[in-house]
Symmetry: C2
DNA sequence: TTTATTTACGTAAACGTTTACGGAATAATA
DNA sequence: TATTATTCCGTAAACGTTTACGTAAATAAA
């Protein structure tokens, strides 16, 4: 409860609230002496305008919402970092919500945000089947920018990475280093993000005349224990010599599974994984990763949102693609 | 701009705005039939009360602020995760701010929050020398809970971990595994958090009758390049056989430095580091860490804040200590 | 001098809620 | 029946801003 408000401030200065308000907003209608007096007093009394009154009056909140599946994930926290950086420079506030991959929670957040609490939304969709209906309802009323976890069937501005190409190139990299049987750890398959990665994998297989073997595609399970079992089973049964993991959570269990199965990475099995694992460099062996420009995605997404605010953006339904980076490390080193 | 507001909703129902408002808030003054009608229509029209009007009228924002040095840090993102979890259950909103360790930015955020935008603040202090003045000013007006990065000289509610004991025990663990010359990578030394870790280290040395050698304490530099150089120098010159790193950012360079100096971890040098490195398990060799209960710290801090809101907390100046967990891994394995 | 323009400020309404107060209708009590 | 209590709802004020409108004084133009 900031005890000081614009009326008291005005009273203190023998001015009207209107004049004070205008002075603080540097209006041309106010003389420079008065402005100086007001500024000084405002500083002295530590006056901060009540944002609710301003927002109510102005129908602007200077606040944006970021909705992500998880905060405690290197990719998302880097993206939020980028978003916060842009927001801070523009004196915007950032509300954070995490869905834990539940579209029910996601929808509930979105509905709550219809209240006008935020001027716009940045969202990375949950994996669960998307509720197009509700998202449409929100994006009809508010600027929404989708980032990374996007869905082709949902119209809107999107910032994504070159999922198809990066997956394709990753497979090529495996092939070039001698892989003949490449498995794919499937996730995000309810989203375009996941589909494009899968398609890149499939097309690269085709290009290399590799058989199209469904058994080599492992769909992620309900929890990490199940995932570990599935992966171990995949490696033991199918004996792939290369694995492309579509998310980092599925790459880590590969290390453990190989250890248990007495397989050597990269000699017996080469591994590539999406995306922004913090210390891929220091894993044993260091892990070849497809690095997404997470921070930049956040910056870009926030940038587009602010352009929309300022009517400096007119493409309602464009997808901006940023390039991922294949960082080659020991886990895919060719056998010499 | 939610086009629908309480007046239109009332109009649609042939009721007054007051009645609708009361019905939505389940007031006893409203008949159950009317309540049902209102609820139904509100749902149908997707009505969400304008939060700014409510907040302005009620002087409550249902929003809390979280100020941290960095979001993209495993410890902080886990803590935020915990905070968000608690907030969501109570229908609170969470604003995120990062200071990038700058007390100037920190102060600026704090001052801006005096506007009443939030009902309370959770803060983990920046390393830079703390501006006690401004923090005092804020905590006089708003409930503030400090977590992890705390400062003894600043009064208030604090959630921290057993920094002294965990450092002491870490040194003991090194000694038990044969270390005779243990270095310390110093950081956070402007905060109590850092001081206690250092003190734990020093006292453990004393307990073991190890000499008190200032050269074994390396203060972190301005950036990661400098840190790497300092660490390499420390290892090369002082030839410690054990290192305790007070933050994870200083532990990673040890791996690189040892690689370059052809030293083997843990044979030639044993390493322990704070705190929540994501994949310490998979490093080469796996890293012994002092794991802080990051998520729980977030939950606890948020819980206290909400208790303060509900006047269910009366200790203005208490420190709650959560236990860290020393997770022993290969980097401190004894020579056999 | 008279009139138009500019400057600098005040008045009051509006933003969308919530709630104190009041009041009419109904039910309970005397 | 007369009085009181209860139930249910409406009126209007208030929260702290911002801004359209008005206006008095000073200045410029005629």
């Amino acid at each position: 409860m900031g005890e000081i408000n614009i009326k008291k401030l005005a009273c203190e200065l023998n001015l009207s609230a209107a004049t004070v308000s205008r002075a603080l907003r540097d209006s041309h209608e106010i003389s420079s002496e008065t402005k100086a007096r007001v500024l000084e007093m405002a500083k002295k009394l530590n006056y901060e305008p009540n944002p609710f009154a301003s927002n109510l009056r102005g129908q602007k909140s200077k606040t944006i919402a970021v909705i992500v599946p998880e905060i405690a994930n290197n990719f998302f926290s880097l993206a939020i970092n980028g978003i916060e950086d842009v927001a801070r420079k523009l004196d915007y506030h950032v509300l954070i919500y995490q869905t834990h991959e539940s579209s029910e929670i996601e929808t509930s957040f979105l509905m709550r945000l219809l209240s006008g609490r935020v001027d716009g939304i940045l969202i990375s969709l949950a994996c669960e089947t998307v509720d197009k209906e509700h998202i449409k309802k929100v994006s009809d009323q508010l600027p929404v920018v989708f980032f990374d976890r996007v869905h082709d069937d949902i119209e809107g501005m999107k910032i994504a990475t070159d999922d198809y190409e990066s997956a394709y190139n990753a497979v090529q990299h495996l092939v070039e280093n001698g892989c003949k049987k490449i498995a794919y750890l499937l996730a995000l398959n309810t989203l375009s993000t996941g589909n494009k990665r899968l398609q890149g994998y499939l097309d690269a297989l085709k290009y290399n005349n590799f058989p199209d073997d469904k058994n080599l595609i492992m769909e992620s399970g309900a929890n990490s224990d199940e995932n570990y079992a599935l992966i171990k089973n995949l490696i033991a049964e199918q004996k792939p010599d290369g694995i492309l993991s579509s998310i980092e959570d599925l790459a880590m269990p590969c290390y453990y599974a190989c250890k248990e199965l007495k397989l050597n990475i990269p000699r017996d099995l080469k591994l590539i994984s999406y995306s922004n694992l913090a210390h891929a460099e220091l894993l044993n062996p260091s892990l070849t990763t497809i690095n997404q420009p997470a921070f930049e995605i956040g910056v870009e997404a926030a940038g587009i949102l602010f352009k929309i605010f300022n009517k400096r953006w007119y493409e309602p339904n464009e997808t901006i693609i940023l390039k991922s980076n294949l960082i080659k490390r020991e886990s895919t080193r060719g056998n010499v």
